[in-house]
Amino acid sequence: MKAVPPRRIPWTGGNVFGPALLFVAIVATWETVVRLRDIPPLVLPAPSLVWGSLVSHTRSGFLLIHLGVTLVEILLGFLGGSIIGIGLGIGVALSPRLRGMLHPYLIASQAMPKLALAPIFVMWFGFGILPKILITALIAFFPLFENTVTGLNEVDGEALELFAALRASRWQTLRWLRLPNAAPYVVAGLRVGMILSLVGAVVAEYVGANRGLGALIITSQGMMDTPLMFAVFVVLILLGVVLYEMIGFLERRCLARRYRD
């Protein structure tokens, strides 16, 4: 009937065996090539070396501390950006005047690469987690804002006429028509916003941080500890999958029954 925002892609596609086989094949090839050609670990560490680094740094708690910092940044930034994005989206969708006033600035704020703000944020807010949370929030904001506005506005014209005929107030129309209509769009926005938040937090940490997975990547580069860097990559991938699945879980809990099956 109408354009529905894209579905979540299940990351295993339901089939576990195929992906697992491919994983083993890739790791085995990687290990073999590195050993046969004697590639130095500084350039490309063998999977066994990465695994060793991952295990030892996890045991010592070293990786977990940095993971914790990044996770806090991601979650707080994502939460803040989502709340502002959804709230401002509702405001703009309901008030043409507000939309007219804010529109050029919202577009401009998107044209500006937010990561470029990282250095100035460091100067203003220091090397702690606050500037990273702010950058992450700025990045997560836009998909939420845009999807909320779209979802609230793309309502069936005849449904609006029905609500008018029922003499529904603006608030009732928002509550029973526009918001439920926007729900799938908002969840799609959450999905995108979550992944962008991960990228945002890590890259923000590249610029002047002493903790967090991004800072760890920079540190391992300085120490020429490539196996550690790869171990961080592995943690980042796992983190991304978990965060993405969290949104999927939310979607299944809140939307599945009413919106699709």
């Binding site: 009937m1 069936d156 005849e158 449904a159 006429e161 029905l162 609500f163 008018a164 005929a165 029922l166 003499r167 529904a168 009732q172 029973w176 028509l177 439920p180 729900a183 009413r258 919106y259």
Partner: protein, 266 residues
């Protein structure tokens, strides 16, 4: 709820006087309706027929208070229409159900908007869904209902607040012939039980004649009342009446009147 007039007491329910309506088009204003006079008595079943583009839907929107006429006066129960009224229920061409609500929840919408107590409204909604044959589908979502069932839900929704007037805009146009005939009978049953005044728009002459006490023929561009036909068929209407010579004769009359070019306006 509002039982102002007693059951069989016949009064003028809808009264349109000299209704005209204009549309703005890129090539200037276009007259959709010109000087339409029309009345419907309380409890009467009136159908409006005409070719597409003759302003039937526009007229219905004016009765519903969704569109003000450019001139003329529309009265319901003797009071000028200034906006949507709670005395009016509307069934659109499409069912216009909220896809995230079950059949029951869709029917309850008007009560929610009006802030009525839920238990009473629930009982009424359930009774209505049962009366349109959907007693077993209360908790189904619209996507799990056929087109005919969806339109039944929308009829139940329009009737929830017991409006005195039911406006229907080609509600069965998208249904197949067999479903449509069943819908006719079910609609007539609901109408007999509750006796709202029905204004039913269609371009199907047989449908108009089968349902109505009176058929009002509109001529197109601009829409004006061409002719009014009393339908002499007894009630309750039954499917076999479609083979009745009186039925055929009435349909023929309407059809001929529709085809004669009403330029001179007799």
């Amino acid at each position: 709820m509002g039982s102002k007039s007693d059951a069989r007491h016949v009064t003028t329910k809808i009264e349109a006087r000299g209704i005209s309506s204009e549309f703005a088009t890129p090539s200037g204003p276009m007259l959709a309706l010109r000087d339409v006079d029309l009345t419907a008595q309380s409890g009467e079943f009136v159908t409006l027929v005409g070719e597409s583009g003759c302003g039937k839907t526009t007229f219905l929107r004016i009765v519903a208070g969704l569109l003000p006429p450019n001139c003329g006066e529309m009265r319901i129960d003797g009071v000028a229409v200034t906006g949507p009224s709670r005395e009016v229920g509307i069934v659109f061409q499409r069912p216009v159900l909220l896809p995230w609500r079950t059949a029951m929840e869709n029917v309850l919408l008007p009560a929610q908007v009006r802030g009525l107590p839920t238990e009473q409204a629930c009982a009424e909604a359930e009774a209505l869904l049962v009366s349109v044959g959907l007693g077993e589908f209360l908790d189904r979502f619209p996507r799990h209902l056929s087109g005919g069932m969806q339109q039944r839900v929308s009829i139940a929704r329009a009737l929830l607040l017991q409006p005195g007037i039911l406006l229907m805009d080609e509600p069965f146009g998208a249904l197949d012939a067999i479903t449509r005939e069943q819908m006719h009978l079910d609609l007539l049953n609901v109408w007999r039980a509750r006796r709202p005044t029905i204004l039913f728009v269609t371009h199907d002459i047989a449908e108009a004649v089968f349902l109505a006490d009176r058929v009002i023929l509109l001529s197109p561009r601009p829409g004006t009342v061409r002719q009014v036909f009393e339908v002499p068929l007894p009630r309750p209407r039954v499917p076999d009446q479609r083979f009745d010579p009186v039925f055929a004769a009435t349909c023929r009359e309407v059809k001929h009147a529709m085809q004669t070019n009403g330029e001179g306006e007799g």
